[in-house]
């Protein structure tokens, strides 16, 4: 039986190896796979610049995030070598490194390049002394608020989630919701937002992450308190359908004036406060996200670019990455797109860039820096299992929001799932 099966599998996998082609594309050509966000869109528009500079043709494929996820898993394991440069969300990178899907680019990028990159995001890609990717994006959690509505309600900008609850109650009427946050299940959706509440109340994912004790602690009283707050804010003070909102819906609700507060990543907040996008921009302010007994922990999401282990053209790939994160390229993109999340330090010295984002909102760049300072690198645990864990926890949290199970049950279920996934 066993023999038969392995033979069948081997046959199905290797049947056509004799026809295998070693290279999918020419040597002076690289394939870049990214998912859609302002930076990557901007980068795609600059592909010709790269070819003009280096003579290397870059096929920059910018796809939807779902499409991206489905593709890379098989490309990496299949070792197809069809991707030379890949988008590396920091939360996934650990898993990829462990699985051997990336090659380090420590020796391939120059000191000159790395020294111009913010230390935090750069460090997020340093594992076992090797550099596995270079960051181009660091989004942090911010809060936008409607000055006019706060004034009308006679309330201050909330400093803590406790404050938020009381302010939200004052603002919420039949026609006016107070707040919207991502609630859709997913490690990049509600699990981008919820840990901000969790960590403010002192909640953690593991007993001692820094000390290396990976016993799940999601079922803690702190987390339960946080989840109750999160659920209450969304259900009692959110607009209709808030229980399944994702960033797009949050963005739309804010721009339509449906809500007073949005706690979101910089990308969305910058759109909410941008007069070109939003009719309420002139009455909207920016602040740090609320904190709690354990302080303030803005969400952080880092994106970078790395080289898959199976890449056939890694020299050209490294060249591309260096070009993509260079001050010149990033400045161009920051000017062409709505992209304030750059990690190349010297771009902030570019007066045009500074002027552009100051014109959107004077506090924007400064609040972003303040939030970056507060953010912890392992906001979401940097372990290989995280994507699976985050998915499972996100599903439970979403179920609690939508009343399918109670918050207590949700956390119990999440803890059981975590143990299951971690094999404990």
């Amino acid at each position: 039986m066993k023999h038969l099966l392995s033979t069948a599998l081997a046959a199905s996998i290797a049947l056509s190896t004799p026809f295998a082609t070693t290279s999918v594309h020419a040597a002076d050509e690289i394939n870049v796979l990214m998912f859609g966000m302002p930076f990557t869109n901007g980068l795609r528009d600059l592909a010709d610049d790269f070819e003009a500079e280096t003579g290397i043709k870059a096929n920059i494929d910018v796809v939807g995030q779902d499409v991206f996820e489905s593709r890379i898993a098989l490309s990496f394991t299949g070792g197809t070598g069809d991707i030379d440069v890949v988008h590396t969300p920091v939360i996934q990178v650990q898993r990829w490194i462990q699985a051997g899907w990336l090659q380090p680019l420590t020796d391939q990028v120059s000191e000159e390049t790395t020294s111009d990159i913010l230390a935090g995001p750069l460090g997020a890609y340093t594992v076992d002394g090797e550099q596995w990717a270079l960051p181009f994006f660091a989004g942090v959690g911010l809060m936008s608020y409607r000055k006019d509505l706060l004034e009308a309600a006679g309330a201050e900008v909330p400093e803590t989630w406790e404050d938020m609850l009381s302010v939200a109650e004052k603002i919420t009427t039949k026609d006016q919701a107070a707040i919207a946050m991502r609630a859709a299940p997913g490690q990049g959706f509600n699990m981008f937002i919820f840990p901000m509440v969790m960590r403010a109340y002192g909640g953690t994912f593991f007993t001692d992450y820094e000390g290396g004790d990976f016993t799940p602690s999601i079922n803690s009283p702190e987390n339960l308190e946080a989840l109750n707050v999160y659920v209450k804010l969304i259900n009692d003070y959110g607009p209709a359908g808030a229980g399944n909102f994702n960033f797009a819906e949050v963005n739309a609700a804010a721009q339509n004036g449906q809500i007073a507060f949005a706690v979101e990543g910089t990308g969305i907040i910058s759109q909410i406060v941008d007069p070109a996008n939003s009719r309420f921009a002139d009455v909207t302010g920016i602040a740090l996200p609320p904190g709690g007994p354990a302080g303030r922990s803005p969400a952080i999401g880092v994106h970078g670019m790395g080289i898959p282990a199976s890449a056939t053209n890694s020299d050209a790939a490294a060249q591309f990455i260096e070009w993509a994160v260079s001050a010149e390229t990033v400045s161009k993109i920051a000017l062409a797109q709505s992209f304030p999340d750059f990690t190349t330090a010297s771009v902030a010295d570019n007066p045009e860039v500074v002027a552009k984002y100051a014109s959107i909102h004077p506090d924007f760049l400064s609040t972003r820096v303040a939030a970056l300072d507060l953010a912890i690198g392992h906001y979401r645990p940097l372990i290989p299992e995280w994507p699976t864990l985050g998915q499972a926890i996100g599903e439970s949290v979403n179920a609690a929001i939508n009343g399918l199970i109670s918050p207590e049950e949700a956390l119990e279920q999440a803890e059981a799932d975590m143990r299951d996934i971690l094999g404990q």
Binding site: S12, A14, T21, G36, V67, S70, L74, S75, A248, Q255
Partner: protein, 276 residues
């Protein structure tokens, strides 16, 4: 008598009301997509009656400058090729299955149905590993081969049914007239089963055109098909509804004339299968 006619009118009215309700159900999303496609991006989240003039052609222009037209072309090529291959291979096979004297015809029909109905999620990984080793990832050929798993059983099975309705005596008459089997097939059986063949080709094209899953896994930038490309309008921080609406229209328009043209043939070929 009076009672009867009132009943009759009530019934008519009820029937009419139901048909109108169903028509609204059928037409609303279409109308909505048309509206959405002409909405100015700023006004997209506002009800149409609040800013009825915020209409624009910009969305259409924008999409012509994206990757979507290329994906549409890829869809045409792969759906067209896989339909052609499936017809070339499946139509003769359907004919032979309908007319040959074979044991195990039941098994054959079962296998065909099963292949048509099997869940692609199980197929796709072995297929991917196979492709990865043979350089078929992101090639038209690879996608066309994958679509053959959908279109070939469909074409063979429905042509089998269509040819079964062509009387055996027609083929025998041709054979008696000294036609070779090939001539009997091309000159007699195929023309007699034409509605079925047209319907089969259109259904096969639809299935391939419709596919999302295979294309998601085994295409890259070079051969991305339109159903996958439309997902690219959902990006990291926004959903481009206007482009999605335009893309949906672009995805549907090529199918419409086919459906209008083939409506008759599909009913014709289905009716045989159903009457049996």
């Amino acid at each position: 008598m009076i009672d009867n006619s009132r009943q009759f009118h009530n019934r008519r009215r009820f029937g009419l009301a139901m048909m109108i309700t169903l028509l609204v159900f059928a037409a609303l999303p279409t109308v909505w997509v048309l509206v959405l496609s002409f909405r100015a991006p700023v006004a997209i989240f506002e009800p149409i009656w609040e800013s009825p003039t915020a209409l624009t052609l910009q969305n259409f222009y924008k999409i012509t400058r994206s990757d979507f037209p290329a994906a549409l072309l890829n869809s045409f090529i792969t759906a067209g090729l896989s339909t052609t291959f499936a017809m070339l291979v499946g139509v003769p096979a359907g004919f032979a299955l309908a007319k040959a004297r074979l044991s195990g015809k039941f098994i054959a029909s079962w296998v065909l149905l099963l292949l048509r109905m099997a869940p692609p999620v199980g197929f796709v990984i072995p297929l991917f590993l196979l492709y990865a080793n043979s350089g078929l990832i992101d090639t038209y050929l690879g996608l066309v081969f994958a679509y053959m798993t959908l279109t070939l059983p469909l074409v063979t099975w429905s042509m089998w049914n269509s040819f079964a309705q062509v009387p055996d005596e027609l083929i025998e008459a041709a054979i008696m007239d000294d036609a070779s089997l090939a001539k009997a097939f091309f000159l007699i059986a195929l023309p007699a089963a034409r509605p079925g063949a047209v319907a089969a080709a259109i259904l096969a094209f639809l299935v391939a055109w419709n596919d999302f899953f295979y294309a998601l896994i085994i295409t890259r930038s070079g051969t991305t098909t339109a159903p996958v490309a439309v997902m690219n309008f959902i990006s990291y921080d926004s959903v481009d509804w206007a482009s999605i609406a335009v893309a949906s229209i672009a995805l549907t328009l090529p199918i419409l004339p086919l459906m209008a043209l083939a409506n008759r043939y599909i009913v014709q070929s289905l009716s045989g299968a159903v009457k049996g």
